[in-house]
């Protein structure tokens, strides 16, 4: 039973997070930053594009270094 649950959790993790957990963590942080900045009534539309390009470059650099 425990093994089955563990396998299911690992499958979901693999499906959602994939090869590089940094991408998932970075997306969550960038969305939170966008919400915080927008909540302060400042322009926040630029956060996600910058984060996306940065995360892609970071993840590619990590893959290249392996």
């Amino acid at each position: 039973m425990t093994a089955a649950v563990r396998k299911a959790v690992l499958s979901v993790w693999e499906f959602v997070v994939g090869d590089d957990w940094v991408i998932a963590a970075g997306v969550v942080l960038a969305l939170a930053a966008t919400a915080l900045i927008a909540g302060a009534h400042a322009a926040a539309w630029w956060v996600m594009p910058v984060a996306v390009v940065g995360l892609l470059a970071l993840s590619l650099a990590r893959a290249r270094a392996r």
């Binding site: 499906f15 959602v16 997070v17 994939g18 090869d19 590089d20 991408i23 998932a24 997306v27 969550v28 960038a30 969305l31 939170a32 966008t34 919400a35 900045i37 927008a38 909540g39 322009a43 926040a44 539309w45 956060v47 996600m48 594009p49 996306v52 390009v53 995360l55 892609l56 470059a57 993840s59 590619l60 893959a63 290249r64």
Partner: protein
């Protein structure tokens, strides 16, 4: 059809085509080697499970408040899109093996021949299970894309139709060729899907988090080409600085 609806249809069509090509290779291998009827039962069962997932989750998703939906879907699309894009860039740069349908077909066929347990012309459990798993695993991500894109624009029907057209075309291509569709430019399609998913994820995630885009929906016309150019530049740079050109090979279960 609006620009965002067209983007939805193209993204789902491309993603579904790629996954259908990969599923077709698996089904062809067990069908040719062992049992067509059992393999097709497996396909039917896999498609039925995917249809149930879409039918069950679609209405649930569309009932969520729009900002909650957009931030959740935007975030998930970004995670998926960046994964697709990352792998496509690595393949384009020669740092990851290209998906080779002929090699996958040969490997699946060899495994099917070695599996044994086939008796007479009755039901073949191996063919059923391998086809079912192939269709379900390759289709899950597409079901997810259909749901997220469709729910966010309240166009699950359009997304499902685009997926249906893609599957039909791939199956017809497979029937006509009687072989794996090895000449489909899979990595270029995956590159395009990665760019589209990431762009729409960026757009919706930002709106869901409470920010507004300058120009509204027209911002997508800047986001998509900008991300494409950045991704191509990264692939080019990586190719010149450390691309190792690995051999194309079998990438079973690696749907992106």
């Amino acid at each position: 059809m609006s620009g965002t609806e067209l983007g939805l249809a193209v993204s789902v069509f491309l993603a579904c085509s790629v996954e259908a090509v990969e599923a077709l290779t698996i089904v062809l291998a067990v069908g040719v080697t062992r049992s067509w009827s059992s393999a097709l039962y497996g396909v039917g069962a896999g498609v039925a499970v995917l249809a149930v997932i879409v039918a069950a989750l679609g209405p649930a998703l569309t009932s969520l408040p729009i900002n909650t939906l957009r931030v959740a879907i935007g975030g998930l699309l970004l995670v998926f899109g960046l994964q697709w894009l990352r792998k496509a860039v690595l393949r384009a740069a020669g740092l990851k093996a290209l998906h080779d349908e002929q090699a996958t077909f040969a490997a699946e066929r060899e495994a099917a021949q070695a599996a044994g347990g086939r008796a007479g012309t009755g039901f073949d459990g191996y063919s059923f299970v391998i086809s079912f798993k192939g269709v379900l695993l390759e289709g899950l991500e597409v079901a997810f894309i259909v749901l997220t894109f469709g729910a966010n624009q309240h166009k699950v029907g359009l997304a499902a139709a685009a997926a249906g057209v893609a599957i039909t075309l791939v199956v017809l291509g497979g029937v006509a060729a009687k072989a794996p569709l090895a000449r489909v430019p899979e990595n270029a399609m995956k590159f395009a899907v990665g760019v589209m998913l990431t762009s729409f994820g960026t757009f919706w995630g930002t709106e869901g988090a409470g920010a507004s885009w300058p120009g509204g929906d027209a911002a997508l016309l800047v986001i998509i080409p900008s991300l494409l150019v950045c991704s191509l530049a990264m692939a080019r740079w990586l190719g010149r600085n450390g691309g190792a050109r690995p051999q194309a090979g079998v990438v079973v279960g690696d749907s992106t």
